[in-house]
Structures are given as structure tokens and as C-alpha cells.
């Protein structure tokens, strides 16, 4: 027997994650606290004056203000989209605060000068802004409400020519890069929410990896909504120059509040020749309570372009939070031999609704894409996969493989799959597989009989179901994500 050599480290991993699950399985949404900190806010509502106010607050150059105003004028002519399988009351865009920044007495010049209350908030969320304390090699940009409050490891990254800063700083310090790439992937008028974001976005992260540089650490942005009645509109732009590589992580949480809050972000990724961008999200916005009150409305536009030959963009998302999720991270495969990937786990419980998926647009020759979507529905929730695979007429040899699996817990939830396929080149090969299954009483009883209680059994079954996607996440995120799955589905079986 040659068991010794092939023994996998998996056991260790599960060990950690299982004890983590046991720790957290009995807790509710644990990020629902509010930080008591004075905020500098704009009055409620949206008009050109508000946009001027935001732009002035951020001391923006005039081209940026003009760009925003143009977006706003376009947005006013647009209609909120209602094609998704989502049902929610009308959003009153005049009842939202579009700018809210924690008041800091003086602008912190270094990480040491950050308001201790804000520092504690992030500590509580498990995000340390103290570089010395971070051994894991992850650089963080911390965004609270409308502004970035700190970015760690900036100097170390700068030595390699890597730019990692808030969008506000990028507009000030790297205007050429911003002007060249901003809205180059998601045009201002792409959709209603992207136009709104363009008009009012307040901060976000900016990343530029120069030619041939492999980013030595994971970059991450942590988004936190704190203030009441505010919306969060962040904008992220990541550029990997020729031959560059970066792995980027995004996390997010919000306090528990009775009213719904709007989050409308835009993320743009640009990969030049032979570059690779790996973008991972663990989305944990407040999902609302068990009766469906409150929670974040998450309307997000995420798109990457593989502009260069042999470039690669990979989206991985674990979606557990939000009352409403409307999100389709996509890849435009322009460069020949470029690769796009989308790995997703979307969990809905109680009255959550998710309509999420991807678009893979094959334009270049021999482009490849892979879609793995795992939807888990429980309670009264509705979970939809919506995906488009488009193969243009010049995309000789394009290949796509899509797999969409749904898992149902209970009989009051719904899982839906809407795959769209458009092929204009007859050398393309497009494959789609879909399955729907239910967690069986049989599976639970089998685990019970082996001494495993029902909550743990559900966690094992769910993690097994989602494994292919979880494996794509960086290690420390994967453990976090497994915990989240267990919490999100707490009490949904048995």
C-alpha cells in the first residue's frame, strides 16, 4: 500500500475549517455593529450640485468633474433595468446620502495617525491596519463609507514600481493612467448603475502592476458601509501591464439596519500581453433579517478585458450577503489565446435574492473560457444564474465550458438558470452542463449515524458542493469563506 506518499494535506485544512465552523455556526451576522464616529456628509439627494460637492471634496481636476457630470446627464436619461429575476420596492435615489466620510481631525500622513476608533473598527472586522502585525503578506486598502482611510505596504510595493492606492490618490498622482484606463472597460453609459457610479463614485482602489512584475503579495480592499442612509459607490481599476501578475481580494461588510442601503460599484480590469489578473471576492454585505427587512442592495458591474495576447483574467466570487445581488463579472477576450474564468458560489437564505453570473465575450482567436457556478438556495430565497457566452465571427477556435449546479435546501426556495449562448463562428466549441439537486434526508442521516450533527453535516455537504470554486481562493480566504457558508445557512435544515 502506497498510502503514505499520496496523503493529501486536505485533512489539516478541514480540521481548521471544521473547528472554525463549530466556532461560528451558532452566531448570527457578526459584522452588524455600528462605529460611533462623526461623519462629514453631503445632504441627501442627487443633483449636479451634489456631484460638484463630491468632486470639490476630493479636490479633483476639472476633467474629472466634467466626466462625472457627463455621466450624470446620461444617467438621468436611462431607465433602471428590470430584466433580472429580482423583486424589490422602487429605489428612491433622492433619499440617499451620496457622500459620507469619517471625520478625522487632520488628514493622516501615515498609518500611525489613523483615528483609533477607525483602527478598532477594522481590528474588529479582522483587518489589521498595522503592518507589523500582518504576517500573511496581504496589503490592504481600507474603505469606509465613501473614502479610503488607509493603504498598507505602499512603500514596499512602490519599490517594485507597483502602484496600490485609493482612487482619490490615483486621480491626483497618476492622472495619465486614470484617464487612459478609466471607463475603458465599462463605458460610462454601459448600464444604469454604472452610469450612476460614474457620476457619484467617491473612492475605491487603484492598482497598476508594471511590465514583467509579479506582485509579491496579495492586494486587498476591504469595503465597509457604516453611516446610515448612505450608499456606497466605489470604483476599482486594476491594470496589469505586459507580463505582469496580480492576485487581488475584495471583502465587504455592513451594519445591520432596518432600511435597505444601496451599493453600486464598478470594477474594471485590464490585462495586457501575457498578463494575468486573479480577482477574488468574498461578499458579505448585511443580508437583511430573517423576515427580509433591511439588507444591502448590491448592483455591481465588474468587467475585465484581456486586451493582450495570452492574457488571463479569473474571477472568483463567494456571494453570501446582500438582500439583492445583481452582478455579472465578465471578461472580454480580445487578445488571441487569452483566457477568461468565472468561479462562483452564491448562497441565498431567508428572503435573499441573487441574480448573478457572467459574460464571456470571445473576440480573439483561440480564446478560452470556463464558467463554474454553484448556487445554494435555502429558506424562501431565489437564486438565479444568468450567463452569456458570446463568440464573435473572428474568434476562430474559441472554446467555452460552462457548468452550473444548484443545490436546494428545503422546498420553499428557488434555483433558476438562464444560460444564453451566441455563436457567430462555426469553429467554436461551447459546452454547457447544469444540474439541480437537493440535500437529502438520506445524506443528513448518513452523517448523523456517523456521529456528525446536522449543522456540521450541512456544512460538509455544502463545502463539498462548492469545493471546485473554494479551491480557487487564496488559502486564508478559503477558510474564511467556508465559515461564511456555514453561517449563511445556519438553521436552514433540520
Amino acid at each position: 500500500m502506497k498510502s503514505e506518499e499520496v496523503y493529501q494535506p486536505e485533512v489539516q485544512e478541514v480540521d481548521e475549517s471544521m473547528s472554525a465552523i463549530n466556532d461560528t455556526v451558532n452566531s448570527e451576522y457578526k459584522y452588524g455593529f455600528v462605529t460611533e464616529i462623526e461623519a462629514d456628509e453631503a445632504p441627501k439627494g442627487l443633483n449636479e450640485d451634489i456631484i460638484r460637492f463630491i468632486s470639490a471634496k476630493k479636490n479633483e481636476p476639472s476633467w474629472m468633474l466634467e466626466w462625472r457630470l457627463k455621466a450624470f446627464r446620461q444617467w438621468q436619461k436611462m431607465e433602471e433595468p428590470h430584466w433580472a429575476n429580482l423583486h424589490y420596492p422602487k429605489i428612491n435615489y433622492q433619499d440617499i446620502i451620496y457622500y459620507s466620510a469619517p471625520k478625522q481631525k487632520t488628514k493622516p500622513k501615515s498609518l500611525d495617525e489613523i483615528d483609533p476608533e477607525l483602527r478598532r473598527t477594522f481590528e474588529k472586522l479582522g483587518i489589521s491596519l498595522d503592518e507589523q502585525k500582518r504576517l500573511s503578506g496581504v496589503a490592504v486598502d481600507a474603505v469606509i463609507d465613501s473614502v479610503s482611510i488607509a493603504t498598507t505596504f505602499k512603500e514596499q510595493l512602490a519599490e517594485k514600481g507597483i502602484i496600490f492606492c485609493s482612487m482619490t490618490e490615483a486621480i491626483q498622482n497618476h492622472p495619465d493612467l486614470v484617464r487612459e484606463y478609466l471607463s475603458s472597460v465599462v463605458p460610462v453609459t454601459d448600464n444604469y448603475f454604472a452610469a450612476l457610479n460614474s457620476a457619484v463614485f467617491t473612492d475605491g482602489s487603484f492598482v497598476y502592476i508594471p511590465k514583467g512584475v509579479r506582485c509579491p503579495m496579495e492586494l486587498s480592499t476591504y469595503f465597509r458601509i457604516n453611516a446610515e442612509n448612505t450608499g456606497q459607490f466605489e470604483r476599482t481599476l486594476i491594470i496589469a501591464d505586459e507580463g505582469a501578475y496580480v492576485s487581488y481580494l475584495e471583502g465587504c461588510t455592513a451594519p445591520m439596519r432596518d432600511e435597505n442601503q444601496l451599493h453600486a460599484a464598478v470594477v474594471e480590469l485590464v490585462a495586457l500581453d501575457n498578463a494575468e489578473i486573479k480577482y477574488s471576492t468574498v461578499q458579505n454585505w448585511y443580508p437583511g433579517d430573517k423576515e427580509g427587512n433591511g439588507g444591502i442592495y448590491n448592483f455591481v458591474t465588474k468587467r475585465g478585458i484581456c486586451r493582450g495576447v495570452r492574457s488571463k483574467i479569473s474571477w472568483t466570487q463567494v456571494e453570501t450577503g446582500s438582500a439583492i445581488t445583481w452582478k455579472y463579472p465578465s471578461v472580454i477576450l480580445k487578445g488571441d489565446h487569452s483566457i477568461g474564468e468565472f468561479y462562483s458560489v452564491a448562497v441565498t437564505n431567508n428572503y435573499q435574492q441573487a441574480d448573478t453570473g457572467t459574460k464571456m465575450q470571445h473576440l480573439g482567436k483561440n480564446t478560452r473560457s470556463r464558467i463554474v457556478s454553484k448556487g445554494i438556495s435555502a429558506g424562501f430565497s431565489q437564486n438565479s444564474y444568468r450567463g452569456l457566452v458570446h463568440v464573435g465571427k473572428n474568434a476562430n477556435g474559441a472554446r467555452n465550458f460552462s457548468q452550473c449546479d444548484s443545490l436546494l435546501l428545503g422546498d420553499k426556495c428557488g434555483a433558476h438558470t438562464f444560460p444564453y449562448i451566441e455563436v457567430k463562428n462555426n469553429t467554436a466549441v461551447v459546452e454547457h452542463e447544469a444540474t439541480t439537486s437537493k440535500i437529502g434526508e438520506d445524506q443528513i442521516f448518513y452523517c448523523n449515524q456517523r456521529g456528525i450533527d446536522t449543522e456540521t453535516a450541512v456544512a460538509l455537504i455544502i463545502n463539498g458542493f462548492a469545493k471546485e470554486v473554494m479551491n480557487q481562493l487564496p488559502m486564508e480566504f478559503a477558510v474564511e469563506a467556508q465559515k461564511l457558508l456555514a453561517i449563511s445557512l445556519e438553521g436552514s435544515v433540520g
Partner: protein, 276 residues
């Protein structure tokens, strides 16, 4: 000593004397159970002591698998009467996972598949959950690996099977062997084998039975539920009970199984019919 009827008789009397002194591990009294509106068990009485192997035989639909499921605590079955005591505890009061913790193991007739969950991880979770129930420290990766190697050798199962998703795409024989491996890992007090021989060829039966035999000891007991006698050629029972229409209608030693094999279940039906 020549094996004369007389000496065998003496032996049995002596054995029964010893047996009566040992306390029962499992004591089932007048157990009745139904699924939905259908009454399946109509008053089962059975005592099992540590070190014994009991076989429950019977025609299809007699309630054999129901008995196994009720002992393991499957919730679809409603217990409508009687009692079950296991190691001094009221078994029927315990949840399925508590029963597992107390030392009850059911080898399933149809082991379930869990895609994406590796067999090793599943077993490690099970072993540590049971240890936790018993107030023992969980095994770390090294200790677990050591135990696993030891038991793998015992039941002749190989690593490649254990790194695959639980039972997914396993052949019938592989599934049953995996059940026996789990039994070895969990070291139960009472193992219930529910039709473990169904769907297996003779080689697979032999391997599975060998595994069970290696795990037999004076401290544990085995309840073999089977339709056919052939498994009992390999797992030799101390007692054989015939279940018919929700009751144990006949008990005996291993010879009873041979008689059933020879004469078929009809003779039982006739006997019971005559009584009724």
C-alpha cells in the same frame, strides 16, 4: 473430545449459564414501529450481549431493515411502543448522532454519495465528533493518519478510494468495503450490518466478511441483517433469528440459517400460519 450430541448439549447449557451472568448490551422489548400509517414492527424482543454475533433473517418486507433503521434512529420511522436499552441507556431517547457516540454503527444497505467531500475528510470528522462525544481529545492529522493506515491494512482498502468523494462513483463492492472501513475506524460497541451482502459477488462478500471478523472481539457485538444464508458462511453467528411480519418468530443457532437455506422461507410462513 468427540462431538457427540450429548457433549454439544452440555456445552450449550454451560454457555447459556455463562451468558446469563453477563449483562445485556442491547435489550429490545416489545418494540413496535411504523412508517407513515404502516405498522412494520409489531413487537420485537431481542437481547444481545457483548462478544456475540446475531443474525436476523427473513423474507422481503418482514421488517429487517426497519429494525436496523429504528435502532440507528432514522426519523421517518415512528416508534409506537416498547423499549430499547443500550448499555444501560434508553436508546430511543437519543438522537442518531448520540447513538453513534454511544457506540452504535450502522453499515448501510445503500451508502449515500456526497460529491466533493473526500472520504478521508468525512471519516476524520466522524471519528473526531465521536471522540468529542466521549470526552476524548480529537485526533490531530498525524494520529489520524496512523490509525487510518492500521485500519486500512485490516480491511484491505486502498488510499485511492479514500481520497475520492464519499461513495461517488464507487462500485457496490467498494461502497460496502468503505462501510466496513468506517466501522473499523469508529470502533463501535454494536455494529449493525444491513444487508451488507446485497449486490455483492462472492469475492466481495469474502473481503467484507473478513473485515468484520477481524473486528470481532469479546467487547463488541454484531447484528447481521441478511436475506440469504451465504454471508453467514463467512460471518458465523452465535444466534439466528427469523423475522416475519414484524415479529421474531423463530430463534436458534447457525443451523437454523442452513435449514432456512434448504427449505426456504415458506416453511416459516407455514409454521407461523399454523400457529395463527
Amino acid at each position: 473430545m468427540p462431538d457427540t450430541p450429548r457433549s454439544s448439549h452440555c456445552l450449550e447449557i454451560r454457555r447459556n449459564k455463562i451468558r446469563n451472568k453477563i449483562k445485556d448490551m442491547l435489550s429490545i422489548k416489545n418494540l413496535q414501529a411504523r412508517i407513515e400509517e404502516k405498522q412494520i414492527l409489531k413487537g420485537i424482543n431481542l437481547d444481545i450481549k457483548a462478544g456475540e454475533v446475531h443474525a436476523i433473517m427473513g423474507p422481503n418486507g418482514s421488517g429487517k431493515s426497519t429494525l436496523a433503521s429504528v435502532l440507528a434512529g432514522r426519523s421517518e420511522y415512528e416508534v409506537t411502543g416498547g423499549s430499547v436499552e443500550f448499555l444501560g441507556k434508553d436508546l430511543l431517547e437519543l438522537s442518531p448522532e448520540e447513538r453513534a457516540g454511544e457506540g452504535i454503527f450502522l453499515a448501510f444497505q445503500y451508502p449515500v454519495e456526497i460529491p466533493g467531500l473526500s472520504t478521508t475528510n468525512f471519516i476524520k470528522t466522524a471519528v473526531n465528533e465521536v471522540r468529542k462525544y466521549r470526552g476524548q481529545e480529537p485526533y490531530d492529522a498525524v494520529q489520524f493518519l496512523k490509525l487510518m493506515r492500521e485500519k486500512m491494512a485490516m480491511v484491505e482498502i486502498n488510499q485511492s478510494l479514500l481520497s475520492r468523494s464519499l461513495n461517488e462513483g464507487f462500485s457496490g463492492g467498494e461502497k460496502k468495503r468503505n462501510e466496513i472501513f468506517q466501522m473499523a475506524m469508529l470502533e463501535p460497541k454494536l455494529a449493525i450490518l444491513d444487508e451488507t451482502d446485497s449486490g455483492l459477488d462472492i469475492d466481495a462478500i469474502r473481503i467484507v466478511a473478513n473485515g468484520v471478523n477481524k473486528l470481532r472481539s469479546k467487547d463488541n457485538a454484531v447484528l447481521v441483517v441478511t436475506h440469504y444464508q451465504r454471508l453467514l458462511d463467512y460471518i458465523v453467528p452465535d444466534f439466528v433469528h427469523v423475522l416475519y411480519n414484524g415479529r421474531i418468530v423463530k430463534s436458534g443457532t447457525k443451523e437454523l440459517a442452513l435449514e432456512l437455506e434448504e427449505r426456504g422461507y415458506d416453511f416459516i410462513k407455514n409454521e407461523v400460519g399454523q400457529e395463527a
